[in-house]
Symmetry: C2
Subunit: 225 residues, 2 copies
């Protein structure tokens, strides 16, 4: 009907769109996702929408109540702790592997991302919302890039899914708290040890990075569920 390029398939387009909207908080926790409404807004039928929602459900970003439709998942504090703990272990594992396999190019790439984040962070503190969005994208890129170096596909995939579940809540912390003030130092410490090749220490710092973030979040908004 409209897109002739099947390169990004329709379900893929819808999936990415919905995922991004959930991760950036446009679709907040608990919001119902009506199939026809989404279909119309993207000029597709409900079929690819349903496929996208099915994927999102099995990745834990939405929930389905039979005959009542999909809604954005709302995690309780306990569930956030649960997922953050998993994320800690998996990211530590990936970070250790990544440090052992790193190349000088990897170090440079990560450093470039951190520098860009510093620049965007300064703008973001000045109230530039676009810069804040870009900062978040770079933040994701830093962690994604780091554990991608491990070369472990299944681990990366699982880790991405797990991080995605926490992303909307990190966004809350970014808006309400001082994540922008705390995170850069933690990232720099990670990169320093990564450059030195202290695999175990990188793993420990990554886990700590997530744990601290989770604790700060739950202190800011203890009763989200």
């Amino acid at each position: 009907m409209q897109l002739q390029r099947s390169v990004p398939s329709l379900p893929e387009v819808v999936y990415s769109h919905l995922r991004d909207r959930i991760l950036d908080g446009t679709y907040a926790a608990g919001v119902p996702l009506r199939q026809e409404e989404i279909a119309k807004s993207l000029n597709v039928s409900r079929v690819p929408v349903r496929e996208a929602l099915t994927r999102l459900e099995s990745e834990g970003l939405v929930v389905l109540r039979p005959r009542r439709g999909y809604a954005v998942v709302a995690l309780s504090a306990d569930e956030i702790r649960d997922i953050a703990d998993i994320c800690e272990r998996l990211e530590a594992l990936a970070a250790i592997e990544a440090t052992r396999r790193r190349t000088p190019a990897d170090v440079s790439a990560l450093e470039a991302i951190l520098n860009e984040m510093d620049r965007l962070g300064a703008l973001g503190r000045g109230g530039d919302q676009a810069a804040l969005a870009a900062w978040v994208a770079q933040h994701r890129a830093f962690h994604t890039r780091l554990f991608a170096i491990s070369g472990r596909k299944s681990l990366c995939r699982l880790l991405s899914q797990t991080r995605d579940q926490l992303e909307p809540y990190i966004r809350i912390e970014l808006n309400l708290g001082d994540y922008l003030a705390q995170a850069p130092a933690e990232h720099r410490r990670i990169l320093d040890q990564f450059r030195l090749g202290s695999a175990e220490e990188v793993g420990r710092l990554c886990a700590e990075h997530i744990r601290k973030s989770c604790e700060r979040l739950l202190q800011l908004a203890p009763n989200h569920g």
Copy 2:
């Protein structure tokens, strides 16, 4: 058209059917899964079949090549190692948590499962295929029950998915190797420490259980991918 009970929805039925067939080896690695064929065999249309396949794909049990359809995933030796390693960490985590929260009823339930497995294992060694299938079911039940005690929903869900990815290969080990001779002693050791409440030790034994199984498998069939 046929089922009036919507309690298990059609996609759910198809999903369970396909998952079971993949886990028990009926649909071997690499086998193409044709939508219409599956739909006809279950007396449903292709729509719920597609939804089931979408779920299976995001759980890593099947792969989709665009315009060429779905096929059962075929893991390389490296991927099996990767996933088994993840499984080790997650199961150790769940096992530790479970041991701390255990009740006497949990101990009894797990022991009953092991006793049943011993009985079925003896029959299975005699060539009873049905008993072997039942043994596998009890094996899954033992591990599922164990980490369910942890009470961590997200962890259990992730762990189930991860174990499922390995299940077809464990089945191979069961058929070709001496899993039936090795596993019971490992399970008993786990249960003994679980009863005593040695959380860390239970975690260590669970990880070791998976690692050994993975090593035996890769020695039996080093080039599966």
